[in-house]
Symmetry: C2
Subunit: 353 residues, 2 copies
Amino acid sequence: MNGGRTIQTKGGVVEILDQTLLPFETTFRRIETAEQMAEAIRVMRVRGAPLIGVAGAFGVALALKSDASDANLARACELLGATRPTAVNLRRRIDELRRELTTVRPAERFTRAYARAQAISDEEATLSRRIGEHGAELIRAAHRRTGRAVNVLTHCNAGWLATVDWGTALAPIYVAHGEGVPVHVWVDETRPRNQGYLTAYELSQERVPHTVIADNTGGHLMQHGRVDLCIVGTDRTTAAGDVCNKVGTYLKALAAHDNGVPFYVAAPESSIDWSISHGREIPIEERGAEELERIRGLDASGQVLEVRLPASAFANFAFDVTPARLVTGLITERGLCPASREGLRSLFPEHAR
Amino acid sequence: MNGGRTIQTKGGVVEILDQTLLPFETTFRRIETAEQMAEAIRVMRVRGAPLIGVAGAFGVALALKSDASDANLARACELLGATRPTAVNLRRRIDELRRELTTVRPAERFTRAYARAQAISDEEATLSRRIGEHGAELIRAAHRRTGRAVNVLTHCNAGWLATVDWGTALAPIYVAHGEGVPVHVWVDETRPRNQGYLTAYELSQERVPHTVIADNTGGHLMQHGRVDLCIVGTDRTTAAGDVCNKVGTYLKALAAHDNGVPFYVAAPESSIDWSISHGREIPIEERGAEELERIRGLDASGQVLEVRLPASAFANFAFDVTPARLVTGLITERGLCPASREGLRSLFPEHAR
């Protein structure tokens, strides 16, 4: 999108858009080693399931630049794969790359890995764009039905910042907006990490009308007919259509269900874990208390400043599971389908067992 | 409780604990006029449905000190009653007082109003204590059933800070804790005003174990059996048991219902609006964007500082309605009852029509 890709390569150098500085500061950060990439994923300089999959692949490539031995390949994959447990994209991209590289002579591994990471990056951007094209029809249809601006509620950030480009949940909004369909986005603040401000930043860049709301607000809006459609992303989707996404997603899905509001999940195939059937099998990342405790904002003079909130004990679960029964449909790069084993099989028959 | 009453009178002077400075600073503020009281209610120096009812009554009394005419009585009641629309306690306390005062000679009005406000204040404290005694049995029973500490989730602040003393939703916790029943409280942060930090402050003062969580977290905790019971307050309860409370309450009630977690609402009779049957009839206050935009915390040197969050458009609805079907029961000063017309009539037969 306007902001450029979130991960860029220039003459063998990998640069990431540092999202811990956003929306205050747009800074690309040079990443030269697997360790630096692991740190960037862990502290969420890069974040979003599709993007950390790509970042992980580049991390493996960087590790091989100086030492392409089996041992170092194994070490790098282990290091990078352990940074964040919930999104399946990360492990999957790393495992796929590792399998491919073991068939390649060490001397060729760096070149192969780097090219592969670039291909994965391009692929994610293409898939995101396709999700946008398929999902846009939901927004067009809502506009045809109501004749007014379509109110879409989203949680967390599943836009171009969470992917290589376009986004998953926001891609349909960008496509529809680009076609001139009037759309307005309710942006959940998404405590504790406030990714809603990343979404607001993105939407501002693309000139899409939007309003930031406290995470508590969506239910009230749905009760009063002020949400036409919910679209969120997913960090891991089970083979039966359960969806694991940013904590709080489940609450919005319950409210949507209770009020007859369609609840869609933008789920690229890279987010689907075909090996599991129940959301309970997905490991839920627990992150540090400091994410709740510390809030960054602007002080009176416009400087970025961090303040600490006053409580002694915090708990910080990063994700929750929305059961398939609450999901109206999945938006994939191959089209829409019901959130069910049958629905997913119809689009991805090669994974039917 | 330990912190003393939230509204105090000393020799004809009214003082309120200024909650906009909490939990950073414990300061009582002298209130000398109805205008000052109206401002205190509007900006939430005093807050919580029971407490603003009492504050409103004192505000009327203060107005009459220098001018006890019918015109000034009407003006003060109008001014104070218009400060916040959702909680029924405020209007009701003011209307009751006004009716009583119109039967009294102007020369006696100030004395009568002041005495009446003090009586209402004492009454609220007594009612809160009774709610605590009735509700404590829910916590005792959960402890008998599980044999471990009872995990109670609460939203917003309905403790002694929201009342004159004891609280509504927190009163059962204080009573049970005082008896030695082990209890742990999940405290919703409650964006945008962060009243969860008031709850954490209160619970710390009373040495009740607790953990602050993002508002997004409760659903995940309930899915994993980590909440035994929800107890929240109410700003207005309909005659049919619908409950209007801090925005986000509805989302927690949905999650409780979906996971078989009992969801109780501490509802003093003063919060019940016998004139309406459906939550949709309750006016929902919309407050300023600055409440979302500005966050107060401590800077690195421990000074209180406000930072601004980066978004251009915010919406801020302060309450939502939880339909009676999602409420397991109401905890009133007369005991527990189902959240229904019949349930309320059984405890308050004088209001049966």
